[in-house]
Amino acid sequence: MSARDFQVIPRLGPEGEALDGEQLEISMGPQHPSTHGVFRMDLLLDGERVTRLKPVFGYLHRNHEKIGESTTYLGSMPYTDRLDYFCSLTNNWAYALTVEKLAGIQVPERAEYLRVITAELTRLQNHLSLAGFLLQDMGASGTPLMYAFREREKILDLFESLTGARMMCNYMRFGGCRCDLPAGWLEQARAVVGEFPRFLDEFQALLDENEILMSRTQGVGVLSAALAVNAGVTGPMLRASGVNYDIRKVDRYGIYDRFEFRVPLGDHGDVYDRYLVRVLEMRESLKILEPALRDLPAGPVLDPKTKLRGFRPKPGEAYGRIESPKGELGFFLISDGSPNPYRYRVRPPSFINLTILEDLCLGRQVADVVVILGSVDIVLGEVDR
């Protein structure tokens, strides 16, 4: 909050008459530590109460879509890593899936397993980070975030030994994955997945019934199911409001129909439910990872008929979507038969989940705004594109 953004506005009553008190317009961000990047909110406050909130973003805008239209289909793959930079592997998958739809490409079974394994590991580390950051926003300085990052580190090590990079993985290709597993990777992954429940038990024992967490989050930022659906909110935020909609179950893309897992739902749609739904989703991800790591079949990881260079899909269009850790991540591509997509569109989940931020914050205090924004789980690389 910088001093020069302060502006005093005369407060008006319902009839337009001047009241004694004044409303204060403040600009929160773009460098505020709780905004998770360069993100700004224009707040109008009546004392401590929020009477208006307009999110302002675009500070990280580099016109990803225009760049996507001026490069080849394959050329955009590493660039999708930079959308939601916490979850590069699910970004890769959403893009690869859409191009496969556009051109009618098949994916070998082993590659489908590798995609599920890497995507669920991505979900684990995303939800972990979110839980850590949320507690950090509430003032639990350090401890929960460091615990979460300690575990996340093990997953990033797995990504690094498989793809060569911890965050910018650039791993998937149209028709499969870029490379096969290195020696010893499966054992290492099984060990990480095997140890994870013990960590989750500890994490939940510390936090689930923590008095500070409960008093700061329960009943705060309540999102009704009807508004969530109408506003296109997806992912854990939607399910915390009690709407059973998980694209892994609805579309059954890839090989998700082979795994048994449940979809955790919230009862109240408040910040606490959003926290808890994510923690429970981690447990369900483990239920997918264990059989996937056990049953991984042998075979190629890339369809040998796939042409990566000089790739020109026939004219047409396709919309493909997956359940990314933040919600529905979709790509919309139009091909005119040339090597570059005619239209390359990203449907960013955290951008659209921000639509209802004002509705959640109205009437709450400024301190709640921080917690509510934290529970939306935004990444500015994806919001601004």
Binding site: V229, N230, A231, G232, T234, R345, R347, D384, R385
Partner: protein, 193 residues
């Protein structure tokens, strides 16, 4: 889920006077779409959201596409009589398609777990005043996405509650996602003398 032809018939039955055209998608994805007319778009959208068996309560993806004026070439075979002999000659016909901007909506049903149904709205031209009706009153999920299309393509959404630029800054004048957008070559601030 019903076929697109059935949905088209139901729309025409439910909303009097609505003109709906099916746009086919030649690619393997086979996601065909419905082109709506401006005057009835809002009522058609409400019908799609409320209609039994459809319940398309969720507007997932909303995006713009720029189609500048192009010359389409069509080849066709014509029979001509040359020197008393009838021959088949291939003839190329050039047709100019005027430019327009297009807005595409991908709709799903969370209630019935079906979709997508693809809607399209087209502007008459690519002028700065190109307009389409906003569908945000039906699906709030379109609010930020329509703002983004306004920002990057310059489509004006009539009936949008808060149509402002969203990614570019206030005062920026061009529309960067249009095909004929030219980025400024030289940045005056960093030019080397």
């Amino acid at each position: 889920m019903e076929s697109l032809e059935q949905i088209k018939h139901r729309i025409e039955g439910a909303v009097a006077g609505a003109r709906v055209e099916i746009i086919t998608n030649p690619g393997p994805a086979g996601q065909h779409s419905l082109l709506l007319d401006h005057a009835h778009a809002l009522r058609v959208a409400t019908f799609l959201r409320e209609g039994s068996g459809l319940r398309l309560d969720y507007a997932s993806n909303v995006t713009g596409v720029d189609w500048p004026e192009t010359v389409l070439k069509e080849k066709r075979k014509v029979k001509q009589t040359i020197e008393g002999v009838e021959r088949e000659i291939e003839e190329t016909i050039e047709r100019t398609r005027p430019g327009f901007l297009e807005v595409v909506y991908h709709l799903y049903s969370m209630e019935l777990k079906q979709g997508p149904v693809v809607l399209r709205l087209r502007t008459g031209d690519r002028a700065a005043s190109a307009r389409v009706p906003s569908l945000t009153p039906v699906w709030r999920g379109a609010e930020f996405q329509e703002r983004e299309i306004y920002d990057l393509y310059g489509v004006i959404f009539e009936g949008h509650p808060d149509l402002r630029r969203i990614l570019m800054w206030e005062g920026f004048e061009d529309y960067p996602m249009r095909k004929d957008y030219a980025a400024p070559v030289e940045n005056a601030a960093v030019s080397i003398a």
